[in-house]
Structure formats: C-alpha cells, structure tokens
C-alpha cells in the first residue's frame, strides 16, 4: 500500500533562516505531488504541485520554492524565512483518473 511521509513534524526557525521540508511517497510510481499551507483555523492554500521529476507549478507568488529531485520526493524550501511563513504545511500525493489527494501528517512551522 502507499504511504506518505513528511518531516519534521514541528519546526521552530528564526526569521531570515533557511528552510527545507521533505516529503516522500512509498508504494507507487510517478505520483502527482502537492504542497499546501494552512493558517490556523483556515482552509488549504495550494502552493506547488508537480506531475513529474523536475516539473514544478507554482500557484501563488511567495517566498518559498519547491523541487522534485526524485520521482517520489518533494521538497519545500526557502532561503530566508519571513514571519508570515508560519503555518501548517501539508504534502499530498495523487494518482489516477480522479486524482484523489492523500495527505501527509503535516509540519507545523513557527517562524520567530
């Protein structure tokens, strides 16, 4: 069966520091991959999605970037974090006709 892993679960970083969040999927090949951000008590905002290695689509202009160096690995990065980057970051994968998205456990990022 397929599983998705996100780490770390919690992260506290100072303003101006770099960021790297990693997501990996097991048990499938060539999945679509997604990064979402969720502010406290709010809905899901799609940040990036990828349909293949090296293919990244950005949904909103921002301080973050994404990369897909391997088929089942998706990385969310920043060179210099802002206070506004705080939030709950979710990775998801999908596949098949209806692209049902399955989510990881999330990373809670606090930028201080």
């Amino acid at each position: 069966s397929q599983t998705i892993h996100q780490w770390p679960a919690t992260l506290v970083q100072p303003v101006g520091s770099p960021l790297s969040l990693e997501c990996t999927v097991e048990g499938t090949s060539n999945p679509n991959l997604y990064w979402y951000r969720q502010a406290a008590g709010r809905g899901l905002q799609l940040l990036f999605y990828s349909v293949g290695i090296g293919q990244i689509s950005s949904e909103v202009p921002q301080n973050l970037s994404a990369s897909r160096p391997q088929d089942r690995q998706f990385i969310l990065s920043s060179k210099k974090l802002l206070l506004s980057d705080s939030g709950f970051y979710l990775c998801a994968w999908s596949q098949g006709q209806y692209n049902i998205q399955y989510f990881g456990a999330g990373t809670r990022l606090s930028v201080l």
Binding site: G41, L44, V51, N99, Q101, A105, R108
Partner: protein
C-alpha cells in the same frame, strides 16, 4: 480558487444526534467531489467521494448528497460521536482536472 481567507464556520451537535455539514461549490463543470476530515494537528483524511452521475452515496455512518442544480454538497453523519470532532472539507474537481478546489471547511464540535 481556495477560500483560504475565511475563518471556519462551526457546527455544534449533541453526541448521538445526526450532523449535516454543507458545502456550496462554484464550478458547474465539476463532476467529482470528495469530503475530507481533518483532526487537530493532522493531515486531512479521505472520507467519501461521489461522482456527478449520482445524487447520493452512503458509507459507514456517513452519507453524501449532491444537488447539481444548486451546486450544493452535504455530508451527513449519523449518531455523531466524540471522535467525529474535526474540521470537514469538501473538494471539487473535474474528471480531467489536475487539482482539487477545497472549500473553506466546517469545524464540527460534538457536545457530551
């Protein structure tokens, strides 16, 4: 796009009562819909889906109703339990679409 700027509406129900969570969708071309459940601090979990050629689908203690005429989706939970307390999101997509559009979410609180 996603309604990420809104605070979550809340539904409070007594334990044992039935819950009805509503969702209005925007795209008349959407033909596939999913309900997700997100518990505090976790990623959203797939609950149930429905295609546009159906107006009702039942799972274990959950029923999804689809009214395409008014672009409305509802999730009914029978005999609500404390473990049902969570935020519930609807999501819409077209059968050829890459990405789902998520609703703003509804917080369900189950009262003892």
């Amino acid at each position: 796009g996603e309604s990420v700027g809104l605070h979550l509406p809340t539904l409070s129900v007594q334990e044992g009562d039935n819950s009805i969570i509503n969702c209005a969708y925007s795209n008349s071309a959407s033909d596939y819909f999913i309900w997700y459940k997100q518990e505090s601090g976790k990623g959203p979990q797939f609950i149930i889906d429905i295609r546009s050629n159906m107006d009702k689908r039942q799972g274990q203690r959950v029923t999804v109703l689809l009214n395409k005429t008014v672009k409305h989706l509802s999730l009914q939970i029978a005999a609500t339990q404390p473990g049902d307390s969570a935020v519930y999101f609807c999501a819409e997509n077209t059968s050829k679409g890459q990405n789902f559009v998520f609703g703003p979410g509804t917080r369900l609180s189950v009262l003892p």
